[in-house]
Amino acid sequence: MDLIELSRLQFAYTAMIHFLFVPLTMGMVFILAIMESVYVMTGKQIYQDMTKFWGKLFGINFALGVTTGLAMEFQFGTNWSYYSHYVGDIFGAPLAIEALMAFFLESTLVGLFFFGWDRMTKNKHLAVTWLMALGTNLSALWILVANGWMQFPIGSEFNVDTMRMELTNFAEVVFSPVAQVKFVHTVSAGYVTAAIFVLAISSWYLLKGRDIPFARRSFAIAAVFGLASSLSVIILGDESGYEMGDVQKVKLAAIEAEWHTEPPPAAFTLIGLPNQETETTDYAIKIPAVMGLIATRSFDQPVTGLVDLKEQHRERMLNGREASSLMQQIRAGDKSPATRARFEAILDDLGYGLLLSAYAADPMNPTEAELQAAVDASIPKVWPLFWSFRIMVAAGFTMLLLFALASWHVAKRTENKPRWLLRFALFSLPLPWIACEMGWFVAEYGRQPWAIGEILPTDLAVSQLTEGDVLLTLGSIVVLYSIFVAIEMWLMVRYARKGPSSLQTGRYDLETGASQEA
């Protein structure tokens, strides 16, 4: 593997491990806030115990979220230094704002959430919990503003004198439609994750016949919260599809394995085997018109296929090669206004010029084979996107079904919930994590070959390190994270098994011996 692949692998690994913990944190804070609100309103002790017990599990998870989050902030600088220089003027701002506006709030209040119970009034503690939830979710907003800009860079322009992108319109960056849709989709996915977590573990207690009142109440809150959240994820996911059709055409076409532009409205390929060589999808099962509807919200607009998009990229590379050459002239001291005017006119294609330069020995005169290689590399590999997207959607709808059934039984106030439903909930435990990881994979792998969409190619963005350097750090991180995750899972299972008895209040089954199991 070369430097670029190793750097990407390190980023992908650290990001995906980080996102095992983040969605649970984002959702748990709200579930905790809801439980504590019920406690404050009704004064019933059991709801405070619920807040404290689920809070314990939240804490075990939160610690690794913080740990793995540190790596995320460091590694743009350590491993993607040209990226940091090239777009830090825009990308750095939301990260810094995240720390100032959100992470400070979350981290300061999380200490008071755990250790402040006896130090303040019920109402104050409840306010702390809600503000912690607010901080956590604001965090996600700013991270996704930054990520949204990587996908769809707006509100900025290239400055040839400083050799970087510079901010021109901050509001455009913050209110980028991609960022906003991503934000709601992602936090809702977090709520779903936490809802499944609480639902599955509560179902396990119910199956075991343990701590029934505690588990039933937890089950009810998780079911209803999860139903609302999973509807939100799916609706916003559909909105994402619409946004993509607008501004990230390549990613959309790759997810759907839409090789050729079909006459509108385009059919949706349910499943099939995308083949990059022949630019076709083998054994495709199609549903007429559905994709055109999702992506364009119309019957008459086409969804551009990958083959046609590649042709557009070819044109832009030929323009971009001139932009890149003019840029070098200007940096070498050419002050003529004509050069600058021409450069500004074709500046939009500069990124394609930079992309081409990695494939051509002489970027000004690429051979036909070199140009073709660059054009082929201008779209991501299709089958991983096609399949990860479908796995995400399938997991999403399964969870929606589960929440709907669970909420139905909660609403009916069923005395004993059917055991198949409880088992369904228990075995759904991995689903939200699978969906979240697949979703991020689609978002980030689907952005390739760009670090910043159509502006900065990934292979240019890396730090000038050796392969050995990155291999060593990647190996160390894998070892450390594996140990951490193993310990975390072990503690999580241990505390989940103990259940509310771990609070040592003397009120729960393992302590009183009331459990059927005991």
Partner: protein, 378 residues
């Protein structure tokens, strides 16, 4: 407000964030460094850990904010420092990994061996970062071997081992002592009995050692480290072009600013007197004042460092003209302005709720408190 003023303000703000980091996270790291030294048994160590338990996470955000602000306000500095000091940064990162989980997991299992391992993790995770940060700052004073190419891509030509030179190690050790002393003054305000006595004794020694090492580093800087000096070609209002200026290396270059503005000699003096004062006040059992003196010493130290290097942030030893300064290593004017507004709104809020958090958790942590809340505390 013009570009030059914004750039200067951001130089001050990064300094403020660094001071915020060391004054807050510094004491919880210092406490963790002392864990095995003055915490004789599990209960004492639990007391020490629980004095910082509600605060360490919020404190650590000062570091995260400093790094984020570096990214936003000085993107090229962030890129150059983090990739140039690659292994140093990664080691810091790995050490920092250990802290959140060690704090959170240590008391989750009632087992001596389990706790012992997490104690080591906590101490390592809290001692290695100040050591490496100090070493990195020591290297900044000597210049770092890097240059830019035509596309302004950064090329670092040094090695990790070269960072560990005697002067940088001195600064590293000094930084650890500064953190540990700060932690000891914190423990004076938050503990009782034997533990309190040991914390007082620790500061009484460490404060003096810090004052001595700080002075020693200053003398070494005067005698043995060449400073950098901008000769020309640097326009404080222009775009951040980086490579157009002329810089030379001269003996005693890091003292030019003090010679130009003699009143600034007060800054290192505050550092030395602050450290010595924290030692003296610890001996006199004036616990809160000792903490304040230590905090003042930290601020004095960081400002002294910044002013010595002004206007440099990261000088290049191999291509001095490519050195990064606060005038040409910055983000665009618009970004600096927006970030300034954000800071002006949120930093007062942060200080407000942080102060409230400390107020809520005020008072000393007793053995009885640990015994009574064995299952909810760290």
């Amino acid at each position: 407000m013009d570009y030059e003023a914004l750039r200067f303000i951001w130089w001050v703000l990064i300094g403020v964030l660094l001071i915020g980091f060391v004054v807050t996270d510094g004491f919880d790291m210092g406490v963790a460094s002392l864990l095995k030294v003055i915490g004789r048994d599990n209960e004492e160590r639990r007391i020490m850990i629980n004095t910082v338990a509600p605060h360490w996470d919020g404190n650590q955000v000062w570091l995260i904010t400093a790094a984020g602000a570096l990214f936003a306000a000085w993107p090229t500095v962030y890129a150059a420092a983090f990739s140039g000091f690659y292994f140093a940064m990664m080691l810091t990162l790995f050490a920092l990994f250990l802290r959140p989980i060690a704090f959170e997991y240590r008391s989750k299992i009632d087992n001596q061996q389990w706790r012992d391992r997490w104690d080591w993790a906590l101490t390592t995770g809290s001692t290695v970062p100040p050591l490496i940060i100090g070493v990195a700052f020591g290297n900044l004073l000597q210049g770092v071997p890097f240059h830019f190419d035509d596309l302004l891509r950064l090329h670092y030509t040094g090695s990790f081992w070269a960072l560990l030179n005697p002067f940088a190690l001195l600064v590293g050790v000094f930084t650890v002592i500064m953190f540990v002393n700060h932690g000891a003054t914190w423990l004076q305000m938050k503990t009782e009995g034997e533990l309190l006595k040991r914390a007082e004794n620790s500061s009484a020694i460490l404060g003096l050692v810090a004052a001595a090492l700080f002075t020693l580093a200053g003398i070494w800087l005067w005698l043995g480290v060449d400073g950098f000096h901008v000769v020309g070609g640097l326009d404080t209002q222009a775009d951040s072009t980086i490579v157009g200026k002329q810089v030379e290396q001269i003996a005693n270059g890091w003292f030019i600013n003090y010679q130009r503005w003699p009143l600034t000699w007060l800054l290192p003096l505050i550092g030395i007197l602050g450290f010595a004062g924290s030692a003296l006040l610890s001996k006199m059992r004036r616990h809160a004042l000792a903490f304040v003196a230590s905090a003042l010493a930290i601020a004095g130290t960081i400002v002294t460092f910044g002013l010595s290097m002004f206007p440099f942030i990261m000088p290049s030893s191999t291509q001095p003209n490519h050195s990064l300064t606060l005038w040409d290593g910055t983000a665009s004017e618009l970004t600096l302005l927006i970030m300034l507004v954000v800071v002006l709104i949120f930093v007062p809020l942060i200080l407000g709720y942080t102060a409230w958090g400390y107020y809520v958790m005020r008072g000393r942590v007793s053995v009885q408190h640990i015994r009574d809340n064995s299952h909810s505390l760290y």
